[in-house]
Point group: C2
Chain length 348, copies 2
Amino acid sequence: MARGRAPTVKDVAEHAGVSPGVVSRVVNANGSVSERTRKRVLASIKALDYRPHSAARELRTRTTNTIGLVLADVANPFFAHLAEHVVRHSAEFGLGVLLTTTQEDPAMELRSIELLMQKRVRGVIAAPGTGNAAAWRHMRDLGIDLTFVDRVIDRIPGIDVVGMDNESAAHAATTALLERGHRRIALVSGPSTTSTGRERIDGYRRALGEHDIAENPALVAELAFQRSGVENAVRAMAGLDEPPTALVVGNTAVSAHVVRYLQECGVRLPEDLSVVVFHDAEWAKLMTPQITVVRHQLDALARNAVEMLHSRMNSDEPLRRREIRLDSELVIRSSVAAPRKRRALLET
Amino acid sequence: MARGRAPTVKDVAEHAGVSPGVVSRVVNANGSVSERTRKRVLASIKALDYRPHSAARELRTRTTNTIGLVLADVANPFFAHLAEHVVRHSAEFGLGVLLTTTQEDPAMELRSIELLMQKRVRGVIAAPGTGNAAAWRHMRDLGIDLTFVDRVIDRIPGIDVVGMDNESAAHAATTALLERGHRRIALVSGPSTTSTGRERIDGYRRALGEHDIAENPALVAELAFQRSGVENAVRAMAGLDEPPTALVVGNTAVSAHVVRYLQECGVRLPEDLSVVVFHDAEWAKLMTPQITVVRHQLDALARNAVEMLHSRMNSDEPLRRREIRLDSELVIRSSVAAPRKRRALLET
DNA sequence: TTGTACGCGTTATCAG
DNA sequence: CTGATAACGCGTACAA
């Protein structure tokens, strides 16, 4: 719908009987201007409902107050909370957030990157997927500051990272199960092509090793971040001659599906299976039994990401690459118990 | 971090031995250009890694491919899913999405509006709160196309709306309970200052009326979209001489808290209380019993919103205001049953 | 303290 | 089919 053109500095200047330069100085609290004319200009601005044109300003100053946020799937409660916090903290810095979603699809991620580069965003916060290392590096080389959250692509140096200490978290979760007497502990994790997947598997392994338990490959399932594959993986593990007595789910994208499928199969928690899940989603505390979770500091994660990006954006010095790892907390709930007598997990 | 300036049309033109205008025509598939030079220009673009500068283009063409999305709280699963779908469908149209969050705070909403106006976004999709009717109207008057989702501010004509048929949904939910023999049905809804709150209360009332039941004000709680107030409201209703035997929760922001508090109080579902909740969140099907829900067509909601906005953006004709109401589906699960013998709901 | 003039990168117009 | 030129709205040196 076409409307009358929005007022410009020129209009304001005319209305106030000054020159455009003066108006600019007023709105940007830049150069000096007499109090009298300042008042007059301010009045004209209000009178005309003047609003500086972002694009023009960006063009002239060669900078924006917009950042990009690239996540896999905002419908995933983990990313949803992360997004909410990032948006809130960005607003505190006066930064707008251009949100983009990839569905874990490298092609979509590439399109996101391309969009953000055209928009010349000032910086980007991203939970990177796999396969676009070159594109991310390119982005950084072009001067767009970059902060990775949650995940790392360790092939790319010079990019700040803020994530969780996944190794320790997985270690703690596994150890808690071991200490309750479990010996056959299964792990459903994300792909080991992602940093989070790798780190969580590492922590799991370390815990097993410390208890002199040989790792059983059949008990480790690397699932893509999609619903498909969940049922097969669960059935495969449950159908083993010696099925697991405990399960750690380190893949937030599928954890609800895993738990739901266990329910559907009639697996009783924690009698038949003890369960620990990464991320303290809403449902964890609503279920019966309440699910033991690894609780992340999502707000701190977001705050650090925004702050790191912001500081980097405002310093010409290419600071050394920083990496922050936040501790997670193991919240024991009733889905964890000592193993019971051996029996088949599923009636097949 | 300062980097060498990005290449411009001028650079590309030089490199290809043509004029800037030709380059522009090539990238925009606009005017006509000989195949030979087109190839050459394309090669130069690739060679220099040229990317059109969004801001410059916006300045010149007086238009953007960015829209705003204003929601209350992306951490709320309802809005999270909505956001995901909006972002995805927008991407299909080549639209970037500037996400903003208000926490149901009018002041934050106003800041969002201001940000989006400065950015001169092409259009906005918003679930508007209360108290900024004038600002929204102003935005529309300035030529920014507007589509409201989920909620309506009916004081503002000329703005497209796509929402759910809340009245029917609440009516259906209430009726399902009535038909199972419930007579004392409670309702926890959002503030009646919001359209969704009002409509859901209306539907609830109509259902009661059709069954010749007088409305009991003590059984209707209008809760703000915040956690606080949940416990008091629940306790107040449970403490009545004649406590409700069924409950409809029409406020997605607090529904999980309501259910959790009921659990904590030892209220058994559905024996002590039948429950229906708006929005089919992840946890509804994970709980024991599984919760009966009103399931919305969130993807259709988002798709319609984006499509309406897109069509409006691309037609100079100020089309008549359109309003779309999507049906919701009542998904009966085991949290609903016939009322049992009367007993106190809480041991006080 | 204020005004002027130029350039940011792009596209539309108009001659050639 | 191509090239030159102006203008989009703003900030900023520099001159007044």
